[in-house]
Symmetry: C2
């Protein structure tokens, strides 16, 4: 059999960090691989939510209290009162979202829970580091990166873009009906029509494949038609509530680092030898901020 290496030079994943042959114009993956320790920031355990599926698979979510503090606080309160334990994924719609809920929506709400959070869909730019991006965005006057998050901007307001892996809060028709007991994650082309219409509480840093590869629901909008199709959730736990040894040591690339700057430039103008027509631009959701689990000396 012929040794075929299709696409080898152009494949990149922020999680797998593909190693390709070094060249004079490093690929985005090579830049990430070569980034010094100072280009990475540790994610505080208070910002990490760990979803365990009943089959043992783990999904690690970085929370976004900068953007939806009340919704995030609700989700954390639900975690601390174990309302996610025995919850379930009830919907898997192809190229759109995977959605899950708490164990029992009739359970008493935890103390401090806000039953009607405000519509935390955007926020002032002020107070966050912000770097605009030079590429046009069909969904916003401008797009950029704010304190490590991919955002759209209009005037003095910014909002997190609904990119692949972003975790948001399902709601009913009135904007204040999403309280955090139903969450979704984007599993396809970014549905950015949702920008500023649904609260974003975080993004998946690890384990997305345990959600994205689930069989698609066969009901309307990808809902399961039989509760036996639901995917049971064992728990959602804040890393800070775990013993230190069990906390995942997640790191996200600092978006104010030279490595990130180089990574963005390389994603926009591919200079790897594979590319015969570099595009010269990149869409906001096609430049995920790299993350990794920090290596320890025991690894």
């Amino acid at each position: 059999m012929r040794c075929f290496l299709p696409l080898i030079a152009l494949l990149f994943s922020s999680s797998t960090m593909a190693a390709t042959a070094p060249s004079s114009a490093p690929s985005p993956a090579e830049i990430v691989d070569a980034a010094p320790a100072t280009a990475w920031r540790d994610v505080a355990p208070e910002r990490l939510l760990i979803m365990k599926l009943a089959d043992g698979d783990r999904v690690v979510i970085e929370l976004a209290p900068e953007f939806a503090p009340v919704h995030v606080a609700n989700v954390v309160r639900l975690a601390r009162s174990h309302q996610w334990d025995g919850g379930a994924i009830t919907r898997v719609q192809d190229n759109y979202v995977v959605q899950w809920r708490v164990h029992d929506e009739a359970s008493p709400l935890p103390e401090g829970f806000m039953a009607h959070p405000p519509a935390e869909y955007d926020r002032p730019l002020k107070g966050l580091d912000y770097t605009p991006l030079p590429y046009p965005d069909p969904y916003a006057a401008e797009s950029g990166i704010a304190s490590g998050w991919l955002v759209g901007r209009e005037g003095a307001q910014i909002w997190p873009a609904q990119c692949y892996g972003v975790v948001g809060v399902g709601r009913d028709m009135p904007p204040d009906t999403g309280d955090g007991r139903e969450l979704y994650v984007v599993n396809g082309e970014a549905p950015r029509q949702l920008d500023r219409n649904l609260a974003v509480v975080g993004r998946v840093l690890e384990g997305m494949e345990h959600l994205s590869a689930l069989p698609r629901g066969t009901g309307k909008l990808g809902f399961h038609t039989d509760p036996r199709q639901d995917v049971p959730i064992a728990s959602m736990t804040l890393a800070a509530d775990l013993p230190a040894a069990l906390r995942p040591a997640m790191q996200v690339m600092r978006t104010d680092s030279q490595s990130f700057h180089d990574y963005l430039a390389a994603r926009a103008a591919r200079r790897d030898p594979f590319f015969v027509h570099p595009t010269g631009g990149v869409s906001l959701c096609n430049m995920p901020v790299p993350s990794r689990e920090k290596k320890t000396q025991h690894d």
Copy 2:
């Protein structure tokens, strides 16, 4: 349990055609549902490739000879000489591509097969219907729709965009090394850095969920690490080579129809009552051309 209807009004899939409550501002799904028969075109059986997985799942692909005639002819020749029978999906990379190959790359090539097709990555605009889109595109001077396909444009050249569900030809480093015996389909955020860098031979019209929900490969770039993880392919067959009764009666919305015009406008400026902040724009790959299997009187 509370009857929670999160996202109900904003969910749309070109294949499921979600029925939502009628409103004065119809949603994209409502527009598609209400489209008259004249808004749809039949896809000729010479343009339909049917992939059968060994477990019986069916994937229907519309071929794109307008864009890559030599590559498409190669793929059809491989189908007619049964070289896909016993092929396999060997790679599933999250948020990137699913890739498959013929049964045996050492098999004699079929008569007329072009071992080194030209780099059919773009083509002249001339000869195709073309409608530009009014939204900015980070990857191209302009984007639009050409004879039913989502395309980028630069000067007199256009090319199909590498959107979710688009089927392309894997290749090695030199541009003429992709002969069609390894194909891929995009399974995540559109990797439009591949635009004009890999030949597009079609797009999935039906059955994408049989490819997108496959377990992710655990090897580098999502390749399987053990042939036992490969997903066997029973066959790829041109619909024209099947008895008429077995051909899927696929239809694609005419992009020159009023329904499509209305659908695009509604996707760009959501007026469904759910949306509190309509974005006013839409990205090229987030407005898939609707398709369906034609209903017969027996349905």
